[in-house]
Symmetry: C3
Subunit: 436 residues, 3 copies
């Protein structure tokens, strides 16, 4: 593993803690504050604004939403629901209101989860004008004790032409071939979905820039709004991305300590899928392999027909598959420095495997004479024959067509374990790189 202590885990967790209170949505100042925070970490991050009304394939960039205050007060003026106490209390994209209404009418605008009586749900209405409040079901039941009460409902929000905001960071490599890292920054005050994703992505971006200095590939790293963000971005860039992208990952739900998850690309057989599965098999104790039918984030766009990018996801607890998902229970206590660091390191392994993934060809017909190069024992005993066997197998499959990942799959080994063998064979000019 890369870091000997868990400082990177604590760093990521601190970032998540700093960003947790911000009220993010798919547009608005919460997104801008979040991107500004990451620009401090990643000075090369470019922040783009896209005007409301801009078309993107079948979609149109919606009006921008901002909110400064919202509450429900009883007849005595007590704020019984207060947006200042939790961002999730407000339905995302709620329109402004300032009205006194009976409980019966208020109740139609309340959302709660009977099965999770202590959780505030995360509810949005991006594309239809609504207003609403989210509360625990316990509170809602208490309010229902007093059906005759009247309430002052106040939402100080604006819904008006503005911008969709996103961050883009291109870290160039030697090659035009690209690896896509895409994360989203549109959820308010939830830790695993979504803060864990951008925090791991930012840490990876620092590592790629500063430590992966010999990188072959170019990295396209996106901090965007889910769905409309990726759709807009693809509408601008899909042709170049389709040409250059050799692997991509959607980074989300990476912070908890539970077993890992993997959601494949549409075909399931891309380089991204190969390295994700190898890294998970080798570097975690276990993981759940979902199918493409279980997808739920921006791979929906990246893998759509005609776009067809090789994008999969490595997660801890998958969105939709843990009870805290999309509620106030997905808070900072649900993620941990250790959980974040585990995801970060698995992604590092994926990237390292891709960086090292080259098509090799043996420079000689038949086996080379390893013994004269000190790569094979020159005393032949019963035991000696197996010692250099992995090296022999690597040469046997280095036919100028199989890349290192494919060779490792044929050998039943972890591709990362082949690196010292490749290094030795390259040093002795027994392998050559095949340009592709």
């Amino acid at each position: 593993m890369v870091s000997s202590n868990n400082s990177i885990g604590h760093t990521m967790h601190q970032w998540a803690s700093d960003l947790y209170p911000i009220c993010r949505s798919i547009t608005g100042n919460g997104v801008r504050q979040t991107l500004d925070y990451f620009k401090n970490i990643l000075p090369d991050l470019k922040i783009h604004e896209v005007l409301s009304g801009t078309r993107a394939f079948d979609w149109v960039v919606p009006d921008e939403w901002n909110i400064t205050n919202a509450y429900v007060a009883d007849e005595q003026g007590n704020k019984i629901i207060d947006f200042q106490l939790h961002n999730l209390h407000i339905v995302g994209y709620s329109e402004p209101i300032d009205k006194i209404i009976p409980f019966e009418e208020l109740d139609k605008h309340l959302h709660s989860l009977p099965d999770q009586p202590d959780a505030i749900p995360f509810i949005t209405s991006y594309y239809k004008r609504r207003w609403g409040f989210c509360i625990t079901d316990r509170q809602r039941q208490a309010l229902r004790q007093n059906p005759e009460a009247r309430y002052h409902v106040k939402i100080d929000s604006t819904l008006a032409p503005g911008n969709l905001t996103y961050g883009e960071l291109i870290i160039p490599g030697k090659s035009e071939k690209e690896i896509l890292l895409s994360t989203y920054i549109c959820h308010p005050s939830m830790a695993n979905d979504d803060l864990s994703g951008p925090c791991v992505t930012a840490a990876l971006a620092q590592w790629i820039k500063n430590e992966l200095s010999n990188r072959q590939n170019t990295y396209r790293i996106l901090f965007i709004t889910e769905t409309i963000g990726s759709i807009y971005y693809l509408s601008k860039h899909h042709q170049e991305m389709k040409k250059n992208t050799i692997a991509g990952f959607v980074l989300t739900c990476m912070g908890d300590d539970n077993v890992y998850s993997y959601v494949p690309s549409r075909t399931g057989y891309t380089l991204a899928d190969q390295v994700a599965q190898q890294a998970l098999k080798h570097h975690t104790s276990n993981y759940i392999a979902y199918t493409f039918l279980d997808r739920g984030s921006d791979e929906r766009q990246y893998c759509s027909p005609g776009i067809d990018l090789p994008v999969c996801s490595v997660m801890r607890s998958k969105y939709g598959a843990y009870p805290e998902y999309h509620t106030s229970l997905d808070d900072l206590s649900f993620i941990s420095p250790v959980g974040l660091k585990g995801s970060y390191e698995v992604m590092q392994k994926c990237i390292e495997l891709i960086e090292k993934n080259v098509v090799y060809r043996s420079t000689t017909l038949c086996e080379p004479q390893l013994g004269k190069r000190g790569l094979y024992p020159n005393l032949s005993t019963k035991e000696s024959k197996n010692i250099a066997f992995n090296m022999m197998n690597l040469i046997a499959y280095a036919d100028g067509k199989n890349d290192l990942i494919n060779i490792s799959e044929k050998m039943g080994t972890y591709a990362g374990d082949l690196e010292p063998l490749v290094t030795a064979l390259l040093e002795h000019n027994l392998l050559e790189v095949v340009d592709q």
Copy 2:
């Protein structure tokens, strides 16, 4: 299911009852009477006659066989075996005889089944001149008690140049693409093999003509003699059939109440195989999947090398796999209105699946915005995301290459369940049909 009550089952069973007494063979008046009966039901059925001696690939149309009477009488003139009592008493294609012979000689011309002592076997000798009688083994053992008796053997039959007769019904659709339904009408007085086949075929033909009025495909429906009938027909039509046929089915053994059976085409992966398996999985409680090595009817010709039509079989109890097969026990009590109706409905489903099987392409890159069209909930809650998920999956695989059957296989769903989704997406111009 199509019919709310079982009137169609009773109708088919009545047809089988009407046709049961006729002495059919591979040629002759029994075939003509049977075809005339179906022409009453299907006025467009064309009845063709092919002269004896006509060549068809490696075969030659044999002489026509007709029989009016046959019996074995004892010395007192008692008819101890009487063709009038059961058509199966006579070996098919028996030559005429009128002779008094000792039991020892008669016994050489008797056929019975020691393992099924109460069954009269079905025996034929189409291509070698013979005569013979089939009886229960119980009767044969009784006759053997009197080895010295002499018997009058009488067969009033003719074997002479005549015709091979078959019925052909072409029901045109919008497209030249064809679906083949092939059944055989050459077995005397047996209910499951073969009367169930032509009765289900006739009911399907009525339904295709009258109710499947919006059909895309053309239907080629054959009532033929097994083997020589299909070989002759292919020798005349195989080039056009090879060009147009997208799926075909041999219809036989469809009347009993036992578990369903499926015999694949030679490759096992044709459209016919796909829909047969989907319909059986979805609309029956269970079925036995045989291999192509278990085939036994006209798919032997349709799937032969160089012909290579995409033809499989959906059955109830498969020929050769039930003890009543090819005996007098395969009588009208072995089939039932419910059994016939089940097969009829599975075949309807196969046909409907093919009719609806189109290659679609999403009209937009990335996912379309379903919400603005009322196809996706515009309030995003924990539960809402799965509601429109099948629609999303359908779009995700609508890449202009996969047809609906292939998409449903990738989605792990029944293709029939996708029809309302396809309808909705077509209405909103979110899918387009790809011409192939």
Copy 3:
């Protein structure tokens, strides 16, 4: 099976017994004596000499090694280790020495197997100058009782420019297509690895020459040194071999009575692999299927990238997988006439399957009328239908693309069992051979 008694087994075992005392190595007079012995059996065997220093791909033919005497004597002149008693006492390619040394120094040059205290190990040092003796671990422990003793170490060997020697036998067939049989003759005084290999190969060569007189294929039969021998041979012949070889086998470890073994080619799907697996399934009670990763002999060269020959191995106990391997315990008692004969017969079956493996096409569209040719019962009863069914299946797959081996795999039968059917169908002109 070919031979009704086991005379061929005894013959092969006698050959092994005659050859057992010779001190073979990768070069030298032991190899020449061995090849001379086989030239007596196979007069057409050509013996080739290749000068030391000759380059072969990444390798260079080493100096020739010969040895006449070697011993270790105690201070009383008693020979306590004597090469005359067992060839394995000397490390292969030991340089000459004549010196009195203390036990402490001698011990550094001794090799034994603590886990097999009664076995003399087989040790070599072909490519680095060394000297050494191999003894049982029991003897070594006894010598260690007397650590102060001094010993006279004497090795009468020569290591000097000379030749690499190998034997080559080409048995022509009607076609230029070739079957490769490759065995090695470089191990001293061990019976299963390697004498069983050349003895079975020689018996097969006699049989091919004398009894397989109608053979289609040309046979390239090599008696070579492992590794350097096959590498040199390929460096001279790989282009013609790549062009002509349709199947090949490395013959080794074929003499014991244990369960059979199979090591596939690199792809695992060549004609050699198909026939090896069919012959083993049909003609042995069981076999262990290894993977290409378990390989260890000259298939390492034949299957290397760029060479890519279709070569696999059929063995009894596989090299490295039995405790006697590469020790003095792999002696003449470890192999048996029955064990050798079993391997010989499996290889005969492999060769016969290849000789008979032709691509056939049915000469008629639809099924031919087998009945009129006496190939199908002309009385159709419940039982008769299955009798000619294998013949029908064979015709059904004879599409001009599948060869007989592929057809047998589709039919789930042993290809050898199809030969009488093929013969009958050819006689009746119902199949034709497709040139390829």
